[in-house]
């Protein structure tokens, strides 16, 4: 039993902690077809699934999903949408901040989190036709195919 506990502990330290520590947020709401592409892996979107940097979030024809990042930025996507968070640094203890979300196609809602309050210039949203600078706020984006 003791040996088993130690094994579990080692596994936790080796795997759970690094993934956990590098997670940038999690999925909160899902409707219809929605998934994450992480390298070769395709992960079905479910409440509580942790997001990592460079995960590609996608929704199908009737899909939709909503995520909350660790600084409480709230992003949701409607059907046939695709996005990537390619930079996320939220370290108030070191004064380090950075958020770059790429809205590739589809419909999105965006609600700023703590990052926009602490370091608004570090938040950028990229669309195929231009960059969006955000001053603490709430907005919608539609990118046509």
């Amino acid at each position: 039993m003791k040996r088993y506990s130690i094994f579990v502990l080692i596994v936790l330290i080796l795997f759970a902690v690094p993934v956990f520590a590098s997670s940038i947020g999690s999925i909160k709401n899902v409707d219809g077809a929605a998934w994450i592409e992480r390298g070769e892996e395709k992960i079905s979107a479910e409440t509580g699934v942790r997001l990592l940097i460079d995960d590609i979030l996608k929704t199908g024809n009737n899909g939709a999903m909503g995520v909350i990042l660790h600084d409480d930025t709230v992003i949701s996507m409607g059907p046939r949408s695709e996005m990537v968070v390619s930079e996320f640094v939220f370290k108030p203890e070191d004064g380090k901040f950075g958020l770059l979300a790429k809205f590739i196609k589809g419909t999105f809602s965006y609600l700023s989190g703590a990052m926009s309050k602490l370091a608004p210039e570090s938040v950028k949203i990229e669309t195929p036709v231009g960059m969006v600078a955000v001053r603490g706020t709430n907005f919608l984006v539609k990118v046509e195919d």
């Binding site: 509580g48 036709v129 600078a133 919608l140």
Partner: protein, 201 residues
């Protein structure tokens, strides 16, 4: 002639590409949940445009076009374009604050009863993502405060786990003096910044 044909083909190809992949983009600014209105600015190589009133919108036809004029968008149009994204949008996370005595991991008396409410909400919402962030005010140096806010955050984590909250859904961090509730100059005593925030998503 041969050159002309090649040029025509290239032009035609460009037109087709522009037609099917223009990536026409629409931005709409909304009011913040708190009632205020922020600002967004969209910029590409052709120009930029700013939205600073609720309901304003701008269309950018392609990255070869400057952003268009700012125009109001009616609520009905907003719903027809963005209904599904708005419907699925998570509500803002619920936040609880525990306040601590100066330079201490001891809770202020008023904060002890916050625990039960926080645990109840976490259970009711079947939360799978809870953050515990420790904070200090700006009296003392930043390194010391980072460690102090760790101890505060761990203390609250321990209390939540004792109440049966699944440790694997908890992420605990220390923000030291870097994320104050009430911004102050350095070395200022501010009881409202000596806190741990529990964020239930």
């Amino acid at each position: 002639m041969k050159g002309n044909l090649r040029l025509s083909c290239i032009l035609l190809f460009c037109l087709l590409m522009a037609g099917c992949g223009s990536k026409r983009t629409t931005l709409v600014l909304l009011q913040d949940p708190g009632g205020t209105v922020g600002k967004i600015r969209v910029t590409n190589e052709q120009g930029s445009q700013t939205l600073n009133e609720a309901g304003q919108s701008v269309v950018i036809n392609s990255n070869a076009d400057a952003p268009g004029d700012v125009k109001p968008m009616e609520e009905a149009k907003i719903q027809s374009l963005f209904g599904k994204a708005l419907e699925i949008r998570p509500s803002e996370p619920t936040k609880f604050r525990f306040y601590f005595k100066f330079d201490s991991v001891e809770l202020e008396p008023g904060s002890t009863k916050v625990l039960q409410t926080a645990v109840q909400i976490a259970r009711n919402e079947s939360s799978k993502d809870i953050s515990i962030n420790g904070h200090t005010d700006r009296s003392g140096n930043a390194d010391y405060n980072y460690k102090l806010s760790w101890r505060r955050a761990r203390y609250i984590q321990n209390l939540l786990e004792k109440q049966g909250i699944d440790p694997t859904i908890i992420l605990t961090t220390s923000h030291g003096e870097g994320n104050p509730l009430i911004p102050t100059a350095d070395n200022v005593f501010e009881p409202r910044n000596r806190r741990v925030e529990v964020i239930i998503r």
